[in-house]
Symmetry: C2
């Protein structure tokens, strides 16, 4: 597929060109308009200089090359294609053949722009490849992609109904649907799509603070007791990060112990709440995680909710990763109790396969977001508009301009239906179960925690031949710690697959396998296992 | 142009179809792969249900309709096309003919998906229309659009070099170039692209706080003196919003008086700093605006920088709107002194015509962002990777996942060169000058402030016949206050053009005209003026 800018009034020859249907079939054309606005549009495209614009555009008349988006998609779906073609930063910075990242004063030729586009993809990472397992967000949903292309073509801003009427309503409807799926019965909840789970979690803390101490908005943190937040030691680092940003301080983000499966120990939560109160702190907020980043653990929400009710604390559920399971009647019981939360983070760009970014913060109670963030900017949120201004979303947000993240998600939902999401999520979980059953009893592998995974996270060590049978010792742990990084480095250099690893608490580096791309199959799981063995056999 | 998902192994007939070249010319095709991965890809696209996938995909075989992206672009460039087709929220929610926003359990037909896409554009607002003047971000740069399509196809995440090697380097190079243009001579500055100017401004306050009071990160705002921030009464509301979010409190965001042109009065700044110190507050940060939202005013940066140096305060320049003028040798003097700032917000998605979103926060000193936001998440930012991990950007950000906002901007810069941006920015400023000269002496219009605009903002009242010659009075002001909203409502209903209005301080509702779309011409300015007169003549 080519990106072919072009054509124009002088370009009628295009329709009579001798290029084949097959060539056309592989073309993506952004065609220019055959009317008097042509020159202006050239200007818009190419720097407002008609001469440059015509020069660059004109080139296209003879251009038959320059396909890259379609072949990229095609290649990405092929197992034989590498996931990446690894280069070190200094190599790319020095400039690969014909690909120079530096910017200059003068325009590049159109040929060069095409090369730039092609090489940008060539030296990138194919996150849509069925063997890319490196992140919680993988895959490339074609309907989602089409949605994102339409979104960029519409190029508008979510802050007002005035300039994004359809998208604003789609957001409202989708958020309501998500609240229903969470199990909140009140129609009047709230929410907003934000640029990622970390920001969604930040919103949840801001909402809690505003609900209990609205004076912070005007008087700051100095005006209230020393507030503390609780989250598990396995929870996402964004809770701590938000604690730092919002003026709580990371020391006032208290980490709760987890059991061997990475789930919060409710007794430890209650003990730490009591301890904080005794020391004169004011407990405010508890984050329960539904699907931790590394273990994929689900905190026991009902037990945590009981404690929150007892001590009158805000309960947030970070379901950025696990929220997708709410779509599955088979798996949603893992989030039982989520309907008792005051707020929920849920990232459709993770387990639901929506393109990056698509993250929602959902609130049970209406009005808090608005109260918390409202600044009543007169130039945007005029009170005397002709439409119902309660549809303007800008005063709820910490952003001013806000990208349209809703359309790709909405369109996917329309195309798949709730049942489509359910099927695709169930499939990913089955693949993880397959992996778990495949490796759990083999001497080449050691599981990081016992028992079947609850989410698609399968955490394991690969034990190279040299370490098999060696009893646990500091030396063995040190050696084992170096295995995963070595295999990962070899994997990236060979470009065959990608999977994450990390140390965690007292555990040395282990692999964290996750599946969120429904294009993956059992053969891809088999391949990953074989590849780890191949790359690790001499370690 | 159609979005045509499709094809597949059974679809060889496509190449022999009888559709004309012209039809092909108008097609955008996302073609499926003719290999064994086809079914899986269908699954990815259509809910992981082969049957549904095939059903939807298969429909495409006969589909000749369904073009919408290209006609949308074509129409948008035509003056005869309406800027919008206005409907009230309740109208769209009740469902327009065949267009239902509600989500359901089961997949929609492919025909319906196409209708949904077409209607999404139909009932939206054409922000790329040359007569859309409603926001600071307007226009639709075709190279930028191509860049955004490639970005969504690559669908990756900026947090690590590991999965976004090319984009991470492009960001680094572009930020360095922007710092050079600001005039910072030290090679080792810093910066990051963020989801909008409000978040960029928030970063600047966090950076200032971390530089002067790093203990806030761990101990919170309670551990430090009562910090205060200074910004002008004409500055963007995001400074106050960030003050609320970060725990300063809006009362501790002190507003400095402006002169009649909307520029900070340095003497008032100094007086308020002294007053705050006397009251026991600790002044931390001053925001100077380069291009205010409403008046387009440029604060006198040198004079403000002198005061900041004298009192050892962090100087931030919010050049979200005005930053583009740095690209123009004719206009960059308006930002003289910006090289003395500690941090700068600069939104290429405003005056440089990049698609939404593209906003940079730039810092003169390296290391502050990292120090401020670093949480060292082991699962993402492993210390034992095989590449130079200083290229990972995630620990600088308040986000975890971060959308790729750089590519569209980088590609535009390659295609236009610095000179291309300069030409297009100069053109927009010339159009504003044309508007100013056209209306400044006419009895139908009254300027909100005297003198030539510095940016493209032209602020004016339209004086309807009934108010002409009437001396200033409460009654006249009340009547005048209602004029702009009435004209705006009529304008939106007729769909011919869009321009913003607002009250400001003691000024009743006035129009704020801005030009940031280089596709606009003098005829569009003429049209706007005539349209306001036409719609307002009976008021």
């Amino acid at each position: 597929m080519a990106i072919q800018y072009l054509a124009g009034p002088r370009q009628t020859s295009f329709a009579n060109s001798t290029s084949t249907h097959a060539t056309h079939f592989n073309h993506l054309r952004i065609a220019m308009v055959r009317d008097s606005a042509y020159d202006t549009w050239c200007g818009v495209a190419h720097g407002c200089t008609k001469k440059i614009g015509l020069k660059i555009c004109g080139k296209w008349k003879e251009e038959k090359e320059g396909h890259f988006l379609l072949p990229f998609l095609e290649d990405t779906s092929r197992r034989s294609t590498k996931v990446l073609d690894f280069h070190h930063p200094h190599q790319l910075l020095e400039g690969m053949e014909g690909f120079n990242l530096e910017l200059s004063d003068n325009p590049e030729s159109l040929e060069q722009i095409l090369v730039d586009c092609r090489d940008t993809l060539k030296y990138g990472v194919r996150t849509g490849h069925p063997r890319f397992f490196n992140q919680l967000s993988t895959g490339l949903d074609i309907i989602g992609l089409a949605g994102e292309w339409l979104t960029s073509t519409a190029n508008t801003n979510m802050f007002t109904y005035e300039i994004a009427p359809v998208f604003v309503l789609m957001e409202q409807i989708t958020l309501r649907k998500m609240r229903e799926i969470i199990g909140w019965t009140d129609k009047d909840g709230d929410g907003i799509f934000s640029p990622g789970g970390a920001i969604s979690n930040m919103y949840s803390i801001m909402a809690a603070r505003y609900k209990y101490y609205p004076e912070v908005k005007t008087k700051g943190m100095a005006a209230v007791p020393k507030l503390v937040l609780f989250t598990s030691e396995h929870s996402h680092y964004s809770i701590k990060k938000a604690g730092a940003a919002l003026g709580f301080g990371t020391e006032n983000v208290i980490l709760i112990k987890c059991n061997e499966r990475g789930k919060i120990i409710p007794a430890d939560l209650e003990a730490k709440i009591l301890d904080a109160k005794q020391k004169g702190y004011a407990p405010l907020y508890v984050n329960a995680t539904a699907g931790t980043t590394v273990y994929g653990a689900f905190d026991p929400i009902h037990e945590i909710a009981d404690i929150c009710e007892k001590y009158n604390l805000w309960l947030h559920v970070d379901a950025a990763w696990g929220g997708g399971l709410l779509m599955s009647s088979k798996h949603r019981h893992k989030l039982n109790g989520i309907e008792r939360a005051n707020s929920v983070t849920w990232n459709p760009h993770k387990m639901m396969g929506v393109l990056l970014q698509c993250s929602a913060i959902l609130l049970r109670e209406k009005g808090i977001l608005q109260g918390c963030n409202q600044m009543c900017a007169g130039y945007l949120f005029q009170q005397d508009k002709q439409y119902d201004i309660t549809y303007d979303t800008g005063d709820k947000a910490i952003q001013c301009g806000r990208h349209v993240d809703i359309f790709k998600f909405w369109l996917m939902w329309k195309a798949k239906g709730t049942v489509g999401f359910e099927t695709q999520i169930n499939k990913c979980l089955e693949l993880s179960e397959y992996l778990y059953n495949k490796i759990k009893n083999r001497e080449e592998f050691e599981m990081v925690f016992k028992g079947e995974p609850e989410h698609t996270n399968v955490c394991f060590w690969y034990i190279p031949p040299s370490l098999r049978g060696m009893p646990d010792s500091e030396e063995r742990r040190e050696k084992l710690h170096r295995v995963a990084p070595k295999i990962k480095a070899l994997m990236m250099e060979s470009g065959t697959t990608m999977v994450g690893y990390q140390p965690h608490a007292d555990k040395v580096n282990f692999f964290r396998m996750v599946v969120s791309n429904p294009a993956a199959t059992k053969s891809d799981i088999d391949f990953l296992v074989e590849e780890i063995e191949r790359l690790g056999q001499d370690l």
